[in-house]
Amino acid sequence: MSTPDPVVSTLLLNPTVCDGRGLCHHAAPDLIDLDEWGYPILPGGGLRADLTKAQVKAAEDATHACPVLALHIEKRKQ
């Protein structure tokens, strides 16, 4: 039995800032999907996605790729 990886941080999307350029998806295709109009879909489908340690690198790549700073990572308080 494997226990689920602990959540270490949260990926936040501000939809009023997002322009749908899609660079986050190209930087982290396994983490972020695009909808039929080219706007990102975070894991779980909402505006906040919990990240395990294994996902943090991809989330950082996506965040750094965003030209309008619509993505943001918030560290979980330990």
């Binding site: 009023t16 997002c18 706007y39």
Partner: protein, 441 residues
């Protein structure tokens, strides 16, 4: 007999003879709000704009965030905004209340401002509202009588659906832009960055009653989970459309009787508003009209409105008309709303016109899920709920339409359903754009 006096149009002297003067309101002191907040907690009063959030919690939250004074924000005095926008086209309760009992609302604003220590207070109503002269006159009466210690200003944001959302309203008052704000909430960072209490006008008129008669008196009518009375807008297939005041928990059929009964067999109800939801008629008229019972019955309480749709009307045509309007009311900030709502509206038009394939129906169901929880405000969620609950409530009609038939009309519509119909849909947005052409500023 109602508590809010919606039957008569009250001048200040009539108001004072009916309710008496507003008692002195304990002022906020430092981090402690005035004593009224304790009475509000006792009263169980919940917000009437549609969210039904406990009023005392909102007031405490504003006081709390105004004492978290940082080095860089020296002005943290709270702001009060009374929300009289009533963006729901099918709702009329706030307009009726503002026309009949404006002083009850202004009393509530004054009481709220003193209790939370606000230094600025506003009443917001749609720019084109015909209530402006009534409210201006009421404010002049109060000014002449010298009964308010602070000035209450009328503000008139543009007549847009999302401009009534509370963050959009505080954005308008603070910066003159009527778009919703994400992720800051008004109670933390509202108008001009100050903690802002945005409260519906009906809520504030109940506040004026709690301030006079206390929380225990307030709870004497209505259900314990949402005490007091509520204004209800009733429209559609009833003999007399209008607004009534009833204790919460009054069965739906009694409310319909107050409006002269139904005019034809009913197939369903729209409850809550255009961001609310549809429910099939079967058994719903026995439901007690209060937020929790209505939610448990599978409907949405929202802004306390019910619209009855009879068997002579095609609900899918109504949904097509309203969803097109809702798509046009997007503030244009978030992709899923900008592109998703017109796509959904187009799909519903296809269904109403009986052009829909099964594959398109599947795509519509996927799109309805796709736009949820992804906006800076709840406009896309509300529109998706309006459509998805309608598809569920009228599943027989949907099946007929997929089969190129309709229970109401035998002829196929040749063009998109337009302005003809039952639910009120305001003029197309272009007609409302103000002369500057910037209808969000």
């Amino acid at each position: 007999m109602g508590r809010l006096g919606i039957e008569t149009r009250s001048s200040l002297s009539m108001h004072l003879s009916q309710y008496g003067a507003l008692p002195a309101i304990a002022q906020r002191h430092g981090r402690t709000p005035g004593a009224l907040v304790g009475e509000l907690e006792k009263s169980g009063l919940r917000g009437r704009g549609g969210g039904w959030f406990p009023a005392f919690r909102k007031w405490n939250a504003v006081v709390d965030s105004s004492v978290e004074r940082g080095r860089f924000n020296r002005t943290r005095h709270p702001v009060v905004i009374a929300n009289g926008m009533e963006g729901e086209p099918a709702s009329a309760k706030d307009a009726v209340l503002m026309a009949s009992s404006p002083h009850l609302i202004f009393d509530g604003i004054a009481a709220a401002a003193a209790t939370i220590g606000a230094t600025d207070a506003f009443l917001a109503l749609h720019r084109d509202s015909n209530l402006l002269p009534i409210l201006t006159k009421a404010l002049d009466e109060r000014h002449a009588a010298g009964i308010d210690s602070m000035t209450i200003a009328l503000v008139t944001p543009p007549a847009r659906y999302v401009a009534s959302e509370e963050s959009a309203l505080s954005h308008w008052v603070g910066e003159g832009i009527a778009t919703p704000v994400y992720p800051d909430r008004p109670f933390q960072k509202g108008a001009a960055g100050r903690p802002t209490l945005v409260q519906n006008v009906e809520t504030l008129s109940h506040v004026a009653l709690v301030a006079r008669y206390g929380g225990d008196w307030y709870r004497e009518v209505g259900v314990p989970s949402a005490p007091g009375t509520t204004l209800v807008t009733v429209g559609g297939a009833v003999a007399e459309e209008g607004v009534v005041e009833v204790p919460t928990g009054t069965p739906v059929h009694e409310i319909i009787q107050m409006c002269g009964g139904t005019t034809e067999p009913i197939r369903g109800y729209l409850t809550g508003g255009y961001g609310g939801g549809w429910i099939a008629a079967e058994g719903f008229d026995r439901t007690p009209w209060d937020p929790d019972s209505v939610r448990d019955a599978g409907a949405v309480f929202g802004a306390s409105l019910m619209w009855l749709i009879g068997e002579s009307e095609c609900p899918l045509t109504e949904m097509a008309r309203v969803s097109a309007w809702m798509a046009g009311e997007s503030a244009g900030q978030c992709g899923p709303c900008i592109y998703g709502l017109p796509s959904i509206s187009d799909d519903i038009h296809h269904l109403a016109m009986r052009h829909m394939s099964d594959a398109e129906m599947k795509r519509l169901e996927a799109r309805l899920k796709l736009v949820q929880n992804r906006g800076g405000c709840k406009h896309p969620d509300g529109t998706a709920r309006f459509v998805s609950t309608g598809l569920k409530a009228f599943s027989d009609e949907v099946a007929l339409h997929l089969d190129r038939r309709c229970s109401v009309s035998t002829s196929r519509p040749v063009s998109r359903p337009g302005t003809e119909g039952s639910l009120p849909v305001p003029l197309p947005r272009l007609a409302l754009v103000d002369v500057s052409g910037r209808d969000f500023e």
